[in-house]
């Protein structure tokens, strides 16, 4: 069941999707977090951020919109108060980093390097919910490469770059960040969407647009994973609508090395352990010795 993201070993291929798991402590009331392959925590910025006004979420057919707006206590408090307690679970901790300028990203990363509690940084160049929230880095291969390079220079831990699906050519984005030194890619962040409140005659979410996640986006996420996996040689953490072990395996067959579970945690707080157990059972039932044997099966067998 174990997989490798660069030098990091995850004992199973399941991590949490950033922003959908807080800093873990709420879910620790439901199960022992040490069963996870890794934990990916909320986006962190250099300064504390209040985020957007409410409503911040809306339900959509087969999915949801969110526009939290990167609310977080800032990197100092994250290091001081949130990360240390995660060490006890003895699983890798991935910290999602957000910013408005290349300097922001670099500053957060530098600051995180002072902590012993960070095993990888996940660069969020794809948050659609804040003005100047990094999405320009996520839609232009050149800027994506620049921010990746800058972070690589200051990071002593692996750098995972999280791609936005709101682009014409996801493969170009992936290749650009790979060439710039990314150790892994995570994908996809949310699709930009909107719901309109017919009574109020205005967007339901206070921010106007929000990020679409959940089962509705799974086919887009699987397609992008399938395309990118064939174009790059760094590992991919696949996500977007994973609710069950079968969904996770679909991403792995598309070419992901690991998967992240986001929205499903809201529906079922036990989603992650259930998915991990389901993958284990699937491997047993199908005589699969290593996740590697499934990874990319959808195209490897075609070749």
């Amino acid at each position: 069941m174990s997989v490798r993201i660069g030098p990091i070993t995850m004992k199973n291929p399941v991590t949490t999707a950033s922003g959908c798991f807080g800093f873990g402590k709420e879910f620790a009331d439901f199960y022992d977090l040490s069963v996870l392959g890794s934990i990916t925590v909320k986006a962190t910025t250099i300064e504390p951020r209040l985020g957007n006004p409410t409503p911040r979420v809306a339900e959509t057919p087969g999915g949801m919109l969110n526009a939290i707006g990167l609310q977080n206590p800032g990197v100092e408090l994250v290091i001081a108060q949130e990360l240390p307690h995660l060490r006890r679970y003895e699983i890798p901790v991935f910290v999602n980093v957000a910013g408005t300028t290349v300097e922001d990203y670099v500053d957060v990363t530098k600051r995180l390097m002072d902590s012993e509690d960070v095993d990888a940084v996940e660069v969020n160049i794809s948050c659609p919910n804040v003005k100047c929230g990094g999405i320009q880095f996520g839609t232009d291969p050149l800027q994506a490469a620049q921010v990746t390079e800058a972070i690589k220079r200051v990071s002593r831990v692996p750098v995972i770059v999280k791609l936005s699906p709101n682009v014409t050519d996801i493969v170009a984005m992936a290749k650009a960040v790979e060439a710039a030194g990314a150790d892994a890619i995570s994908m996809i962040n949310t699709l930009v969407g909107m719901s309109i409140d017919l009574n109020k005659r205005r967007p339901l979410i206070a921010n106007g647009v929000g990020g679409l996640s959940g089962p509705a986006v799974k086919p887009v996420a699987v397609r992008m994973t399938y395309q990118v996996a064939q174009a790059v040689s760094i590992p991919i953490i696949g996500m977007g609508g994973i609710m069950t072990a079968e969904d996770a395996i679909e991403f792995i067959m598309a070419g992901a090395t690991a998967v992240a579970v986001g929205t499903a945690n809201f529906v079922n707080p036990l989603a992650c352990p259930e998915i991990i157990e389901g993958i284990r059972q699937y491997c047993l039932d199908h005589g699969i010795a290593s996740i590697r044997d499934l990874q990319g099966a959808a195209w490897k067998e075609l070749a």
């Binding site: 959908c20 439901f30 909320k42 057919p61 969110n66 609310q71 959940g214 089962p215 707080p269």
Partner: protein, 260 residues
């Protein structure tokens, strides 16, 4: 999280449903907490619906046999919920959040509920009565056809009813009942209802009666992880910041709540 069997399910006013289901094992709760209910097993309506615990049925040691909630059928999810029949199972998380704080020495408490903010007052009235606090309920509705739980609350003390159109009780708002005289007799108030009502209640009580407001906000997770449900509050250091309705609330000390 538990799958609980539906024991009762019926309409108690227009589009207002009473739903009772078996209690989870080792039920622990305070009035004002909410249950986070899945309305379908599919992905059709993904998010859970937060519904306040209304009443815990059963007597003495047997108390906690069944939990009841009262909800309004408004959107697609509650429309689906309404279709569930006695004997079917519900996927329920909770009770969640911080409920109302009871103060042992209180002699008289005002319970203020508006519309679908009335349900949590029932269990609260029960517990206040048990500890010897006298209860007066002031409840408001749009109209008589959507009025609920008046009878249940009248078991615990006086119930004052207001409707917007005067079709039941006083024509007006719950705050119209809040005379200087009444407030002078009260040690505490507890309020739940629409934001305009809560704002008016907060203003009316300010400096006169201490109390609590129970807030509503659209939720993602319901357990404090996603930051969807924040509301502006005065922090201990005096600054204004966000608190989470699902975890820090839904009940807040009234003066802490900052309305936009």
């Amino acid at each position: 999280m538990a799958r609980l069997t539906i024991l009762e399910h019926r309409e108690i006013a227009e589009n207002m449903m009473w739903l009772a289901f078996s209690a989870p094992q080792d039920l622990r709760y305070t009035p004002g907490q909410f249950l986070h209910i899945r309305v379908t097993d599919g992905v059709d309506h993904l998010l859970r619906r937060p519904i306040s615990l209304c009443y815990v049925q059963g007597e003495g040691g047997a108390k906690s046999q069944a939990i009841a909630v009262a909800y309004r059928v408004g959107g697609k999810g509650t429309e689906l919920l309404r279709k569930k029949k006695v004997g079917e199972e519900l996927d329920v998380l909770g009770p969640l959040g911080n409920g109302f704080t009871l103060h042992e020495g209180d002699r008289h408490a005002l319970l203020v509920g508006g519309g679908i903010g009335v349900p949590p007052m029932v269990e609260l009235a029960e517990q206040l009565t048990q500890q010897g606090t006298k209860v007066t309920s002031i409840i408001g509705f749009q109209s008589a056809n959507v009025a609920i739980l008046q009878e249940e609350l009248s078991r615990y003390g006086e119930v004052l009813v207001a409707t917007n159109d005067g079709s039941l009780g006083l024509q007006g708002f719950v705050t119209d009942y809040m005379t200087e005289e009444l407030l002078a007799t009260a040690d505490r108030f507890y309020a739940c209802g629409p934001t305009p009502m809560l704002r008016a209640v907060q203003a009316k009580m300010d400096g006169k009666v201490e109390g609590y407001l129970s807030l509503e906000e659209r939720m993602g997770c319901g357990i404090g992880a996603c930051m969807a449900c924040v509301t502006s509050c005065r922090m201990d250091d005096g600054s204004v910041g966000y608190k989470k309705v699902c975890k820090d609330g839904p009940v807040f000390s009234a003066p802490k709540v900052v309305f936009a």
